[in-house]
């Protein structure tokens, strides 16, 4: 049995239409067990709509969707027990204490315990795993934004899901909280037990966390691959700066090595203050989005 190859998320030709507007068109992608997949795109690209369809919270207009082998539109409670959901904004259970709410929501998974995977995740262990020890007896409405977000993730994990959905998990977090959150997700991904689908509009975050990035823009997928593959697919333009006889020059080029070689060949030691800025993945991403939007127009 090759579980590593098992497809847990299979989306084909997904379409979502409101009135006469298509907010998702022909969205097709897959995720295999243990993979961390980032759905990257600017605001309004259709990321949340996509993830809500996969979570079974929203009905699609057309297309085939299979999540853990079932159609989320007709999912059963047993299917629900296998997935974890972290939505964009929660503000529920404000009067409850951290440990109390984890123990309570965990109790719903008690009937799904197996020999290999005991469910639910013990509340105190889970609190430690997300770094909330010391806040276990705090009321939830007293938590900071970052702590609240970690609690949301803990709730998403309390049933030890096979598949975890994270919608904009770091929106509104300060850099420190964001870094801690990244560690948490990397730790989860490291175990290869949980498949993770996260949405983000932050390319840096997608690159740090995900094994594979699917770029969504204007309701369509415009690229799908590892960070390296994406960078290779569209070579952005490098920026080369130099001085020649005290005069400054700047040029953008797809092949900076050739340009620099050419410069030295022609001017030798008269070239000074040479600087080559490689196009970053961010430039690639922006170029992709620009290109896609140009094509749509």
């Amino acid at each position: 049995m090759n579980t590593a190859e098992e497809v847990v998320l299979d989306v084909e030709g997904l379409r979502m239409r409101y009135g006469t507007t298509d907010v998702l068109r022909e969205v097709t992608f897959r995720a295999r067990r243990g993979e961390v997949l980032a759905l990257l795109g600017p605001n309004g690209a259709g990321k949340t709509t996509t993830i809500e369809i996969l979570e079974g919270f929203r009905m699609r207009s057309a297309g085939r969707v299979s999540v853990l082998g079932a159609d989320p539109a007709h999912a059963t409670e047993d299917w629900r027990a296998r997935i974890g959901v972290v939505l964009q904004s929660w503000r529920d259970h404000g009067k409850w204490r951290v440990r109390e709410v984890l123990a309570h929501l965990g109790a719903f998974y008690a009937g799904y315990t197996t020999e290999r995977v005991p469910r639910p995740w013990d509340a105190d262990e889970l609190i430690a795993a997300v770094g909330l020890t010391g806040h276990a007896d705090k009321k939830i409405r007293m938590l900071s934004g970052g702590q609240r977000r970690r609690l949301d993730v803990a709730i998403g994990l309390v049933g030890r899901p096979e598949l975890l959905f994270l919608d904009e998990p770091t929106a509104g977090l300060d850099p420190q909280a964001r870094r801690e959150f990244h560690e948490l997700v990397r730790g989860l991904a490291g175990s290869r037990e949980t498949t993770i689908l996260l949405t983000t509009h932050d390319l840096d975050e997608a690159e740090k966390l995900a094994g594979r990035i699917v770029i969504l823009d204007g309701g369509r997928i415009i690229a799908d691959g590892t960070a390296e593959e994406l960078a290779r697919r569209i070579t952005g333009e490098d920026e080369v700066r130099w001085t020649l006889d005290g005069q400054r020059f700047t040029r953008s080029t797809r092949d900076s090595t050739a340009l620099v070689f050419d410069l030295f060949e022609r001017h030798g030691r008269r070239i000074g203050e040479l600087e080559v800025r490689r196009s970053s993945l961010e430039d690639t991403y922006l170029a992709l989005v620009r290109q896609a939007e140009g094509a749509a127009r």
Binding site: E77, R80, D92, K95, G111, G159
Partner: protein, 282 residues
């Protein structure tokens, strides 16, 4: 343990936790005592004021009526909490766990019914001490009170859940207080219904509020006070039938309406409602 049984058990615990929260925080504790306190003060004030030539003090007639009316507070609380918790995402959270809605509703019934019964006790116990002429010495009174309150809760809580599912925001939900107040006015709570025009009596008898007041009066007032009621009788059979019809209708309708509401819940709906709410404040 089967997953559904686990959910019911979790829901039971949830109800108890919510009850505890409701009686351990200052603002809610204040609310639990404020309304009973005010109405008791009125009943005490009217303890010696005779009602017409019936021979009963107004306070004595008033106390059991208000007790019956307070049973229906569970309906209001149910609908308010459902609307509020839909707005803050609690319901969506319930939807995200297996059999979560079952657990959520179990919890809601436990906490609202428990809270209502506690509120009734907070009102009734001091009331018995300060208002004269109530019948409390025999078992029959308490048994009548028990079945009226129990059947009253079953008749009104599902109706509250249906109302709570229908309103999109806590603000719109507040509108149900208007017809509720109107209903109180015509249901013989603060004044005997027999002094109202016949058609208003007919309207009042469609709703559970009148029957709740009648039932609690029949439990706590001497039998001779039945002379003030429609037909000069406590009409226990009719009371059970009317509340029973509401209970059956509510129990049939509530699951359908709740399921429809739950199906529509999604994160973006919660976020959109929150944005609207924030815009109103800002």
């Amino acid at each position: 343990m089967s997953p559904a049984a686990a959910a019911v058990r979790a829901g039971w615990t949830r109800g108890l936790i919510e009850l505890r929260q409701s009686f351990t925080n200052g603002a809610e504790l204040f609310a639990h005592f404020l309304w009973p306190g005010l109405t008791l003060a009125v009943a005490w004030w009217l303890r010696d004021v005779p009602f017409g030539d019936s021979g009963y003090p107004l306070g004595t007639l008033l106390l059991p009526s208000i007790l019956g009316m307070n049973v229906a507070n569970g309906m209001i609380a149910m609908s308010q909490q459902l609307t509020a918790e839909r707005e803050d995402g609690t319901l969506l959270r319930a939807k995200a766990v297996p059999h979560g809605m079952l657990g959520y509703l179990t919890g809601k019934v436990v906490s609202v019914a428990g809270g209502t019964v506690a509120d009734l006790a907070i009102f009734l116990i001091p009331g018995l001490l300060i208002v004269p002429g109530l019948v409390t010495g025999n078992l029959a009174s308490w048994l009548t009170l028990a079945w009226v309150v129990a059947l009253g809760l079953v008749a009104t809580l599902p109706a509250g859940a249906v109302l709570g599912s229908m309103f999109g925001s806590a603000r719109a939900q507040g509108l149900i207080m208007l017809p509720f107040l109107g209903l109180i006015a015509i249901s013989g709570i603060f004044y005997p219904i027999s002094s109202l025009p016949g058609w208003l009596q007919g309207v009042a008898q469609v709703f559970p509020l009148y029957w709740l007041g009648l039932g609690t009066r029949s439990a706590l007032l001497p039998d001779s006070a039945a002379a003030l009621e429609i037909g000069g009788s406590w009409r226990h059979l009719e009371t059970a039938a009317a509340l029973g019809v509401w209970a059956v209708a509510g129990l049939l309708l509530a699951p359908v309406v709740l399921r429809r509401m739950a199906r529509r819940e999604s994160g973006s709906n919660v976020a959109a409602r929150r944005e609207r709410a924030l815009r109103r404040i800002g």
